[in-house]
Subunit: 332 residues, 2 copies
């Protein structure tokens, strides 16, 4: 019996918000391995905001997915079949195998993981792409000194939670922005941020001002829109802004920045970045992150839904801010 | 008879556009020099966009002027009286002596100039603060490689004209944006830019696209507003934007940036800067600029009005884009 592979395709491009009919699930037989290839059974799929951008047909940092392509995504899993000298059956690996049961690879972009050091799912979050994103933006763009104030939006999320904890470890005042009292409580009480501002409470600028009495020296931006406007107005001279996400604009509506002149008057640095363009730094970043997780100095929270078929639901929830912690789909 | 000093004060803060009654001219007797001081007869006053910002009472990179303060401004002139060992009567100097006939100094911030190498007024423009501004933004922020495309707004102005010429000398494609056919013709024919887009012609984005067939790698922003929006939409990945001026917002109205998400998707660097915060680099910059002017490799144009009493008119004209070339007031 030929083994079958379930996979989820981009069926149509979203008009505004992502909808269930933008996806299609299908089941196809697996092709036999060629020499130099190996097959991975995907166990967990990472669900991330960038996926929304890939569903559009517009010029961006990554080629858009074509209609009919398997949805892209980072995964962890186990090698179940191999004709590759470097990967053996039983190896635990992480790679970008997408929204499907099985992936096939020649090894490019696949890393072995040690799930005895930290749990496998951590390699999709705090010790994976989101963690390295946080590490890069904080250390290579914001580069804060002890005593400075660092603000991060989407603070309870996979990236934001790491940004604030790394800032605290660097001796900074860490202030989060998140949606809702529960997330804010988590950010302060479980993650150890100095403060967290609930942007849904209706007094964003006033509350942020109260939480940043000495202004803001570094800002890690995951959101855009009014949160960006409010934080920009709190920046100190020579502040640095790591621009990582603009989730509010992913549905295509323009989200203006109200007072860009502050970038000039405060002599700010604003740097957009994509962590996959800085692969040379990943080993250093991952070494640090895995060690901190193993030492319990870096905490994280996951939101795991069961079943590949629920991946669209997980992405839609993420884009609406419904998840709480790193969004993961358990495939097997 | 005590010598008298005419000076122009900030009489009131502008409500919107600068108006004549925001200024007051008065004549006061000169105080005797103290030991260690010298007196300068101001010959020329530089008129620059930053002056508008100093007239507001808002948090910015410089302390606002107080009501009743002498209007600030760079000058060139000649030492006419000295109790200072380093400055002798007859020395030609440049400093920030403001809108008045005479300045008094202990030497801080005053440089001697050689007006046999290049004319004295050049030290207020191409070989002064505007020139160094261009040099810094181009070399230290944009840092273009030969063959790349550099765009500069307010291209016929004191800063913009130097940016484009330095970019050409660095082997780049230099594209200006200016207001009106006459300025654009000057930018291309007299200054040697590859192209110049007339933003008043009504097809800004289309014309800019045609002038930048390979996209834009470096952008020197002197203006803000729709010019910023249009150029941002033409940026190549990893482009650099030196943010030097946002003249459109100086009257207080907010000028939003329509698509800040491009900074992320194109992984751009945006850096606001103020050239007076990089004084350590001035000698290197000025050495280069004076040499290029003396060799006729750097061209410039001046717009000189006669009479200190006409400085308000010169500033208002500058802010309305009426000047053509570096705006200067001849005081004596």
């Amino acid at each position: 019996m030929t083994p079958m592979n379930r996979r989820i395709l981009l069926a149509s491009r979203p008009q505004g918000a992502v909808a269930p009919d933008n996806f299609k699930i299908e089941q196809v037989p697996l092709a036999p391995l060629a020499e130099g290839q190996f097959r991975v059974r995907n166990h967990y799929l990472s669900v991330d905001p960038y996926m929304r951008g890939r569903m559009n047909d517009v010029k961006s940092y990554a080629e858009p997915l074509a209609l009919g392509d398997v949805m892209t995504g980072g995964t962890v899993g186990e090698v179940v079949e191999s004709k590759h000298g470097g990967f053996a059956v039983g190896d635990k690996v992480t790679g970008v195998f997408g929204w499907q049961d099985y992936g096939t690879s020649d090894g490019a972009g696949v890393r072995k993981i040690d799930d005895t050091l930290v749990p496998a799912t951590a390699y999709l979050g705090v010790a994976g792409m989101p963690g390295v994103t946080a590490w890069y933006g904080l250390n290579k763009i914001i580069a804060p000194r002890a005593g400075q104030t660092v603000v991060v939006s989407a603070a309870s999320g996979a990236v934001g939670s790491v940004v604030g904890q790394l800032a605290k470890l660097a001796g900074c005042r860490a202030v989060g922005i998140a949606g809702g009292a529960e997330k804010c409580r988590y950010v302060v009480e479980a993650l150890g941020f100095d403060a967290c501002v609930d942007y849904k409470a209706g007094n964003l600028y006033r509350d942020l001002k109260a939480a940043t009495p000495n202004g803001v020296d570094g800002y890690f931006e995951n959101v855009g829109g009014e949160v960006f406007d409010a934080t920009l107005a709190r920046m100190n001279p020579f502040g640095r802004i790591a621009l990582c996400g603009m989730i509010a604009g992913y549905d295509g509506q323009p989200v203006p920045l109200k007072q860009p002149s502050i970038i000039l008057t405060m002599r700010l640095l604003v740097q957009g970045f994509i962590v996959t363009e800085h692969l040379a730094l990943w080993p250093e970043a991952l070494g640090t992150l895995v060690a901190l997780v193993a030492q319990k100095k870096l905490r994280y929270r996951e939101s795991i839904v069961e079943g590949l078929e629920r991946a669209p639901e997980a992405l839609m929830g993420l884009l609406q801010g419904k998840n709480f912690g790193k969004q993961i789909v358990k495939i097997a």
